[in-house]
């Protein structure tokens, strides 16, 4: 190998600031090249992707609606990842949360319930998400089983459970056998912030959660514990921090937030339970978490930016007939650049002298 990574003695401060700029610049250059390869005017395409959606209130609202579940889940995941445990099954926790909350909505459908219904649904969704996330966490601390793989497997179990419920017991009796529950009653639906838009109260909740996580991480002992256990496990041991407990805590929090995001999506923009309630939010949120470098406030920005690529991607498809798949390519490329640039904060690339044998 002609090149070698070398750990820097100190993280490069210049890179800390420059890294996101370089990543974005590289992404834009790559995109321009791809647009040109597709025979589209690169500048026009970039404008439709990144500028046009920011110029009208409708698109801004839609960006907020799209970003809300991503940010909510990513904030929870960032706590896990900071503590160096890897929950990648947020998609499953989201689905379980959506199912648990919907159970209340389906069971009370058509009856005259009070204003307690929606809060109860949200709580139930969060609780179910947390419990579901505790399965991989418990397997990890009790048996030493990989939490990455178990949380991933449970995503599929949750998907099939949802599929079963909406095609079987919860199917809308008046819905001509289409796999969906009945439309939720008004009492089981998220209130809207602006009448006629899709901007729902969950967006505010998302922002509050970001602030909460920022405070937790930056200002509390728990937050300190999370950071220490993740960054220096041995030091944490000496400090008397219990890594197992922390695994449970961070998994429970991230599961709860994913479950909450799930039930908010169902009770908000969708309005009923059906397969495909999540276009991969749980996985996209992992990208958001890393784009935001596991920092709650930066995650908010990263979530909004990713939502922008979705909305912009649609507008580009309408205005310039650019295929939808382009948005995915951009998201993948952006994440790679961010990861690579961030790596250069910790390491430098050195040319190895004339292939000298390692060791």
């Amino acid at each position: 190998m002609p090149f070698r990574l070398e750990r820097r003695a100190e993280p490069a401060t210049a890179m800390v600031a420059l890294s996101p700029l370089i990543a974005v610049a590289l992404t834009i250059v790559t995109m321009a090249a791809l647009f040109a390869a597709l025979g589209k005017d690169p500048l026009a395409a970039l404008q439709v992707y990144f500028i046009v959606p920011l110029t009208d209130t409708y698109s801004l609202q839609e960006i907020a609606v799209k970003a809300s579940p991503l940010v909510m889940i990513a904030v929870g995941l960032s706590l896990c990842y900071r503590a160096n445990v890897w929950n990648i099954g947020a998609e499953g926790q989201l689905l379980i949360g959506a199912m648990a909350g919907s159970w209340l909505a389906v069971a009370t459908h058509g009856t005259n319930t009070g204003p307690w219904l929606l809060p109860a649904m949200l709580l139930l969704g969060a609780a179910a998400g947390a419990l579901y996330a505790l399965i991989p966490a418990l397997c990890k601390i009790r048996f030493g089983a990989s939490e990455i793989l178990i949380s991933l497997m449970l995503v599929y179990v949750a998907e099939f459970a949802l599929d079963y419920l909406v095609r079987g017991p919860w199917r809308d009796p008046a819905g001509f056998n289409f796999p969906t529950t009945a439309e939720f009653d008004a009492a089981a639906t998220m209130p809207l912030l602006i009448a006629g838009s899709r901007l729902h109260a969950g967006v505010i909740l998302g922002v509050l959660l970001v602030i909460g996580a920022a405070v937790l991480l930056g200002r509390t002992l728990k937050g300190f514990e999370i950071r220490v256990v993740g960054a220096a496990p041995r030091a944490a041991q000496f400090a008397g921090f219990d890594a197992d407990r922390l695994t449970l805590t961070t998994f429970a929090i991230s599961g709860a937030l994913a479950g909450l995001a799930g039930i908010i999506e169902v009770a908000g923009p969708i309005g009923h339970l059906q397969p495909g309630i999540s276009p991969g939010y749980g996985f996209t949120a992992i990208i958001v978490a890393f784009l935001g470098r596991l920092d709650p406030l930066a995650i908010l920005a990263a979530g909004l930016f990713l939502a922008l690529t979705f909305i912009g991607g649609e507008q580009a498809q309408i205005a310039l007939k650019i295929p939808q798949d382009m948005a995915k390519v951009i998201q993948g490329v952006l994440l790679f650049y961010v990861l690579a640039c961030d790596s250069l904060i910790l390491y430098r690339v050195r040319r190895t002298a004339a292939h000298r044998k390692a060791a």
């Binding site: 996101p20 404008q47 001509f176 009923h272 990263a302 909004l304 310039l320």
Partner: protein
């Protein structure tokens, strides 16, 4: 970081905004027509046929229209936004081409009263939302007739997508027609719980063939089952589009969804101001469904098929002619005089006698 990204993007855009802002603009005289597709235009099935009709619109009206489509739009939270984006982009006529877009279409339609919507296979309408669908069961009657004639083993294999009335009525119509030819005919059904999953459709076709079926019918969109039938020396019916390319030795015929006449008529109606919300449910007579050429069968079966097609077209053959007996042996109420009426077919949720299975989830 976000700020930095925005700044970079803004700088970049500042230079080009002037040059390109005209690109997205459009002359108001043109009628802009939007399409929301569930699959990709190349699925060679459902979405492909809708896109063929879109192309026919472009060909017919030329400069008077401009069409745009969004493909692979999932039926989840993104559907409503996709439809609204099209409305906001100035499309005055929007075709939403999957049942799952129903609630989203209605929601957006209420916000954009001056935009006209056409929703396929739905049952909710508004003054600016029309619905349309094909009488696919008419094609099934012909398929069932052919299948009974061509099946040596007397077993039809049926690949089901989702047990909605449209699919149930297709299964029933097939079996009723087949029983007229061969009262002992059997039908085996496998549900793949999806409208499009080539691998699973192929596996389902193999499973049905392995279990004794020698003619395959499908309510799923890909050509996978057709190819398996072709490979195994069995017979099959195409779905939505002509799949003869995928089954030159296997395809008997197929029910082709032909949206072109309807789409042309609706565009014309918008152009001359006569558009009104309506529920259109058309079949062979109005050419909303067509039969692919009758192939891979002897002349007498071809003639029988053509006669059946002619009979359904002129109304002398009723696919759901009474009496109809359900699985439990109970005679179904005959609301249409001598046949089941449209509401009974549109809401069909029972199997006819002779189907040795039960509807999933029932």
């Amino acid at each position: 970081m976000h700020k930095a990204m925005m700044a970079a993007a803004l700088m970049l855009a500042a230079g080009c905004a002037g040059a390109t802002s005209a690109a997205a603009q459009d002359k108001p005289a043109k009628l802009k027509i939007g399409f929301v597709y569930i699959g990709s235009v190349g699925d060679f099935g459902w979405t492909y046929q809708h896109d063929q009709a879109r192309k026919a619109i472009v060909k017919e009206f030329g400069d008077k229209v401009e069409t745009t489509f969004l493909e692979n739009v999932s039926e989840g939270p993104d559907a409503e936004r996709s439809i609204e984006q099209l409305a906001r982009a100035g499309n005055k006529l929007i075709f939403t081409t999957s049942f799952g877009y129903m609630d989203s279409t209605i929601k957006v339609a209420k916000k954009y009263p001056d935009v006209k919507f056409e929703h396929v296979t739905g049952y909710k309408r508004e003054p600016n939302v029309a619905t349309y669908s094909g009488r696919f069961y008419e094609g099934r009657t012909i398929q069932g007739t052919i299948a009974a004639k061509m099946s040596k083993k007397g077993v039809i294999g049926y690949i089901g997508s989702v047990p909605v009335p449209e699919v149930i009525s297709g299964i029933n119509a097939s079996l009723l027609a087949a029983q007229k030819i061969n009262p002992a005919i059997k039908i085996k059904i496998v549900w793949v719980n999806s409208w499009f999953n080539p691998g699973k459709e192929a596996d389902a076709a193999k499973a049905l063939l392995d279990q004794g079926a020698d003619v395959i019918m499908q309510n799923t969109d890909s050509a996978a089952a057709m190819q398996i039938a072709n490979e195994r020396g069995a017979l099959a019916f195409a779905q939505d589009s002509d799949m003869i390319k995928f089954g030159p030795k296997a395809q008997l015929t197929g029910t082709i969804s032909n949206w072109t006449p309807y789409y042309l008529a609706r565009v014309r109606a918008v152009l001359d101001g006569s558009w009104a919300s309506a529920d259109t449910w058309a079949g062979l007579k109005d050419k909303m469904i067509l039969m692919a050429p009758y192939t891979n069968m002897p002349e007498d079966v071809k003639k029988l098929a053509a006669d059946t097609e002619a009979g359904i077209t002129d109304g002398s053959i009723k696919p759901f002619a009474c009496p109809i007996v359900d699985q439990e042996g109970k005679e179904v109420e005959c609301k249409g005089g001598d046949h089941l009426d449209d509401s009974q077919v549109l809401g069909m949720n029972f199997y006819v006698k002779g189907i040795d299975d039960k509807i999933p989830g029932k």
